[in-house]
């Protein structure tokens, strides 16, 4: 269970509160207007922003002050998820060992996961030689190899076209089955397709997660205004 215990976040004059918990293994869409605090929430979870007050716990263990690399999570950013000078296999291998000290067994695992995400035969390529979708797959492969229980997706596929984005989300949902996944999205259809629960982030509050269908069918005023209803 992921617990946000009376969490207060501040960035400049902006502040955001959250006080809820999330069962392990659920997929959650984080939705809300731009500038509403979605990224602030993810930054705090990932360890890039220290909360003003409150605690973050995972399975009862306090992770509020852990460094980003020590937290039980992986994050995919909007862009820049890969090191341009490293090959696909090296980028993915960083998920197993930050020093890239890989055993033969590790390399075999990297190959298996790259095949699973559809990058077989592209191990030696560099990110610049891949399409946007393939770059997303490579970053996903690294997150899968890290095998942390939580996966944060900060609109990682936003630059892709709608069809490819849906495809990448389906792949992520399939590959990350059992992981707790938080997906930041602007697209209500995407939220329905991917997530069980939704967290509405608006007006300085990250609301407790609620089932995504009912929330979108009968949106509160802030969400209705954002959706243009």
């Amino acid at each position: 269970m992921l617990e946000l215990d009376r969490l207060t976040l501040a960035r400049g004059a902006f502040s955001l509160t959250a006080d809820w918990s999330l069962p392990a293994g659920t997929r959650v869409a984080v939705i809300g207007p731009s500038g509403g605090g979605k990224s602030t929430l993810l930054d705090a979870l990932a360890g890039f922003l220290a909360p003003l007050s409150g605690r973050i716990r995972w399975q009862g263990q306090d992770i509020t002050t852990l460094p980003p690399g020590g937290r039980p999570l992986s994050i995919l950013f909007q862009d820049g998820n890969l090191f341009p000078h490293l090959t696909v296999a090296q980028n993915a291998g960083l998920g197993l060992s930050p020093g890239l000290r890989l055993t033969a067994e590790d390399r075999a695992r990297v190959d298996v996961v790259l095949r699973d995400v559809g990058l077989e035969g592209l191990q030696g390529r560099r990110p610049a030689d891949l399409s946007g979708g393939q770059q997303g797959r490579a970053a996903l492969a690294r997150a899968l190899l890290r095998a942390r229980p939580i996966l944060l997706l900060d609109e990682p596929f936003a630059a892709l076209g709608p069809a490819l984005r849906a495809q990448m989300l389906d792949l992520t949902a399939r590959m990350a089955a059992g992981q707790t996944v938080l997906l930041v999205t602007h697209d209500p259809a995407e939220a329905r397709r991917f997530a069980d629960l939704a967290v509405l982030v608006a007006d300085g509050v990250a609301a407790a997660p609620v089932p995504v269908g009912p929330l979108l069918d009968d949106p509160p005023p802030a969400l209705a205004a954002y959706l243009g209803l």
Binding site: A46, G69, G70, F77
Partner: protein, 141 residues
């Protein structure tokens, strides 16, 4: 001032190295800056992957800065080749550097010999620059 305690000649090498390094520093900073700024964009990625310390230097920082590092080293080498400041303080008759030799030859109105030495100096400076820059390019593929 320090003469009673040390022989200036003993410090010729370290002082020359230090002064030349300081002279080249602004150029090196200018050359390395864009690459270093681009690297800062990957701070978060490194942090989430637990990539830090020597691992980060070895896998990210040095490979991505290899080209500008080689270029900066080439500039520094060429600058040092032409340095006429510090060496004039220390050099004796037998241990002159090329720029000093050029200026001494010119001082003695041996212009043709000075021109020859200057040509050699230019060629050596270019060669040193090319070697350092080439090493950086090769390492930074």
């Amino acid at each position: 001032m320090l003469r009673p305690f040390v022989r200036p000649a003993d410090f010729a090498l370290p002082v020359t190295v230090m002064v030349n390094a300081l002279l080249a520093l602004p150029f090196a900073v200018r050359v390395l800056l864009p690459g270093a700024q681009a690297l800062a964009g990957q701070d978060r990625l490194c942090a989430t992957l637990g990539l830090q310390g020597w691992d980060r230097a070895r896998l990210v920082t040095l490979p991505r800065l290899a080209r500008p590092l080689g270029f900066a080293a080439g500039i520094a080498a060429a600058l040092a080749m032409g340095d006429l400041g510090v060496i004039a303080l220390f050099a004796d008759e037998g241990g002159a550097t090329l720029p000093l030799a050029v200026s001494r030859l010119m001082g003695a109105y041996r212009m043709e010999a000075a021109a020859g030495a200057a040509l050699l100096l230019v060629a050596l400076s270019f060669a040193l620059f090319a070697v350092f820059d080439g090493v950086g390019r090769r390492a930074g593929t």
